[in-house]
Amino acid sequence: MLIFDLSQPGRRNLSQAPRAAAEPDPDAIPADFLRQSRPVLPEVSELDAVRHYTNLSRKNYSIDTQFYPLGSCTMKYNPRACNYLAMLPQFLARHPSAPSDTGQGFLACMYELQEMLKDVTGMAGVSLAPMAGAQGEFAGVAMIRAYHSARGDNARTEILVPNAAHGTNPASAVMCGYTAREIHTDSEGNVDLAALRAVVGPHTAGLMLTNPSTLGVFERAIMEIREIVHAAGGLLYYDGANLNAILGKVKPGDMGFDVIHMNLHKTFSTPHGGGGPGAGPVGVATRLLPYLPLPVVVQKDDAYRLQDEQDLPHSIGRLSAHAGNAGVLLRAYIYAKLLGREGMQRVAEFATLNANYLMIQLKRAGYTLAFPARRASHEFIITLKDLKDKTGVTAMDVAKRLLDKGFHAPTTYFPLLVPECLLIEPTETESRQTLDAFVQAMKEILAEAHHSPDVLKSAPHTTPVRRLDDVKAARELNLTWKPAA
């Protein structure tokens, strides 16, 4: 049932309507500007709308209702205090163009967040401007480009990206006018140093690296990688997608990275909101400070303000009309304050403990680890290639069956280089009891794969809909509801 199906011509919510003006409009809009056709929006009561969207929400799996071990996404508990306090009426009411002296409370939070992020990343400067991880990547690569071109070093046309990287990495490099070249990964999950040495050179603008990588392991040769890239004149970019694994333990700045983006909706627990909003602040080493995206918050004489083009004339510019996803940043600030320095280190410790525990338990249950000789970071990969060869059951079948068992599925088929893979990230906020229940479900599924594979191939059975026809969705495009003619 769509909201449009509930619509009744003429039904209104008059309590939501503005009071009609007592007098006619003094300056009516000329007729040729006026709309002739009425837009098709629902005509429902407030109760209809509240009931409809409340019921729709119940068709979602979410962290608040299910264990959500979605690898690479860090689906940890989003503390309710962060939402409640970020939505205090004064914060919500403040206009983005209001003078800075009307927002000192808000700006103090932003400044302190910036300073904390500088510390945890070990970078010289941070801008909170990017609105998501991918925009942070864009900003980071654009700063690399600005740096090279300020030096007249215009032969650098290539960004190197491991083939295990998120798809955003090569896509961001291209948006900055670079070509993306992929580097091979060895059988232990590390960047292939020989392959790297073979391709770096005067055309290398930089290398984008996720560490721990998307394969769930720490890049042990990071110092050699740094040497190779820096010796060739390239810069080192840290994709902070997996910062949760090393928060407070290792600083990307200490690993020699020149620029980093963080995903606050992962590491700093702001809500994923059904797809966003996120926030992707960037941190830089000293040599990239002049290029930070606007605005940056500064403090002088106990007053805070946002810097603009006059303060940072070499900035790569603005990424949003105002100051980025301010409300997301406020939630991240509150979360950081609740954790404090001790709490941040515990994040990495318990995310890592949970991942390694779950990895060992799944191995004992009969699953195949993609990198059995390695420690898990905060996530790890199992590969179901053997299972598929024996039973025909795929990683997707296992993922769908997990939905029946009351768990959200892990990330499937990413990274692309591990066949039939599940990327599993339990996060630090889940208890041992939850992890054990998940292991029990995975044991049952493995038994089903051998005894009754059709149950898996036809899963899920208990969700609001069963497996959907994606081919039909793409071939017979139906992207909008239209009233019957």
């Binding site: 919510n13 309507a17 503005p18 009609a20 007098e23 409009d25 003094p26 300056d27 809009i29 709309r35 056709s37 837009p39 098709v40 962290i63 508990y77 919500l92 403040r94 206009h95 983005p96 409370g105 939070c109 904390m116 991918a134 990547e137 654009a142 480009r145 090569p170 896509a171 291209v174 948006m175 006018g177 392991v217 720490f218 042990r220 110092m223 407070g248 600083k251 994923h272 059904g274 797809g275 966003g276 909003p277 009309a321 105002h322 980025g324 609740l338 709490g343 515990r346 410790e349 318990f350 525990y357 060992i360 939905l403 906020t429 208890s431 969700t463 069963r466 959907l468 992207l479 909008t480």
Partner: protein
């Protein structure tokens, strides 16, 4: 431990299973030289009571003022139900609906949202959101260049939001795209169709058309669209979604309509909140949908033939196409879109038109009242939606400071972005302003300008006759 449930027994049992003596041993693959010396600038943690006190203090310090600033972010009434439902954990703490069977709530809501936005803009299809209005315009410029195939130059009127023009520049400049500024009519405050003739034959991929424009003035969209089409360009519309309840939607401009429509979705139920999170919307022709960036939801059926919804056309996106994707966007603004969908359902087409009409009426009444004050004049004669520009005989920054001292945020100073307009101020009044609010502004401004030939409140009253 904050947000970590492990008991001492849990930790010991888990370490035993793994076969290590301590949690620290789990980090043994990290070169010891890299281990952090600790966090010096992160303070110790607070409990919830302490952070609650701190945040209340900071919120109270910021306070609230009577706001007449618009300039791309607009204060509208937001029904209580909007965010109470949007922040239900099932929406708030879910992720991107990649597992469709476990995400039908989000997916169906997005399908409803796409339908509402397509109807509001009178376009065929809409995506599931981009970051904000400005970055959505940058994506539209990139999309128009891809569609046009031969030209990489785009015409950008000077009446487009200055921050939007800066954002577009920042986001497209490394892709060898040229943005050419089109001047505006100093008297009427909109783009001059005749002035476009100097661009004739210049090989441009697209003309961007804002409606209303940054000055709040209505652009001659039919003439601009017709000219662009006659010259082989695409038309990219930048529109305010609330205004679309009253104004001709871009899908019908000049008959054939715009090709790509973008805008800032914030006016649809999203609070001002110091600038975000908002959301950008984008709609286009069905023929162009494969060049559209961002997530798109489609209707389909499940294996039992039951209707359902799923992310579709994913081969456009970075997680499949990598360096050849239409955009690098991954995370979008889902929760803000959730709020906007609930908002549109609660107000409906008539309610949205009422909001638009009341906003327009309030802006016009305030404009008339202010224009009667000595030392204030209207900058432009073109018709407006809910914002207008006045020119002052006193320095605009000091006038704004004085208004602020009275608890009034008087508008957005144009001196920096449009120095040719002198001491000019962009003022907005939406449906949230009552007669007393408008009078307070007019009286306050009159006091500041230091003249009392006509009482401002009587100026307001006479304007409403």
């Amino acid at each position: 431990m904050p947000f970590i449930p492990h008991t001492k027994e849990d930790i010991d049992a888990m370490l035993a299973v793994i076969g290590v003596a301590s949690i620290d041993e789990l980090f043994d693959e990290i070169p010891p030289a890299l281990r952090s010396a600790g966090l010096k600038h992160v303070p110790s943690g607070m409990n919830e009571m302490e952070i609650t006190r701190l945040m209340h203090e900071r919120a109270e310090r910021d306070g609230r003022r009577l706001n007449f600033i618009g300039a791309g972010a607009y204060e509208h009434h937001i029904p209580a139900a909007v965010w109470q439902i949007a922040t239900r954990g099932e929406f708030y703490s879910a992720y991107t609906p990649y597992q469709a069977e476990a995400s039908q709530g989000t997916l169906q809501l997005l399908y409803e949202y796409q339908s509402m936005m397509a109807s509001l803009t009178a376009m065929d299809v809409a995506n599931a959101s981009l970051y904000d209005g400005a970055s959505a315009l940058a994506e539209a410029v990139l999309m128009a260049v891809r569609l046009h195939k031969t030209s990489r130059r785009v015409l950008m009127p000077a009446t487009i939001h200055p921050a939007y023009r800066k954002v577009v520049h920042a986001l497209v400049r490394d892709q060898n795209i040229e943005l050419v500024t089109v001047p505006y009519c100093a008297r009427r405050g909109h783009t001059i169709p005749n002035a476009l003739e100097s661009y004739q034959g210049g090989d441009y991929a697209a003309l961007v058309v804002p409606q209303p424009n940054f000055f709040g003035v209505l652009e001659p969209v039919d003439e601009l669209t017709a000219w662009a089409k006659a010259n082989g360009m695409l038309v990219v519309a930048v529109v305010n979604p609330v205004s679309l309840a009253l104004l001709q939607p871009p899908g019908v401009w000049a008959g054939g309509g715009a090709d790509i429509v973008v805008g800032e979705g914030q006016p649809l139920g999203v609070p001002l909140a110091s600038g975000g999170p908002y959301f950008g919307f984008m709609a286009c022709r069905k023929a162009h949908v494969r060049q559209m960036p961002g997530r798109i939801v489609g209707a389909t059926v499940d294996r039992d033939g039951k209707p359902g919804y799923t992310l579709t056309l994913q081969a456009r996106e970075q997680h499949i196409r990598r360096s050849k994707a239409t955009s690098n966007i991954c995370t979008n603004q889902g929760l803000a879109v959730t709020a906007a969908t609930i908002y549109m359902a609660l107000v409906g087409a008539d309610g949205l038109a009422d909001v638009a009409r009341a906003s327009h009426a309030n802006a016009c009444r305030l404009a008339q009242a202010l224009a009667k004050l000595p030392g204030v004049s209207r900058a432009f004669s073109g018709p407006v939606f809910h914002e207008f520009v006045v020119q002052l005989t006193e320095p605009v920054e000091s006038v704004l400071r004085s208004l602020k001292a009275q608890g009034i945020l008087g508008g957005f100073a144009l001196t920096r972005d449009y120095p040719e307009l002198g001491d000019a101020l962009l003022v907005c009044a939406t449906e949230t302003k009552c007669d007393d609010d408008l009078m307070r502004y007019a009286d306050g401004l009159q006091r500041i300008l230091g003249s009392c030939v006509v009482a401002a409140s009587s100026a307001l009253q006479s304007s409403t006759i």
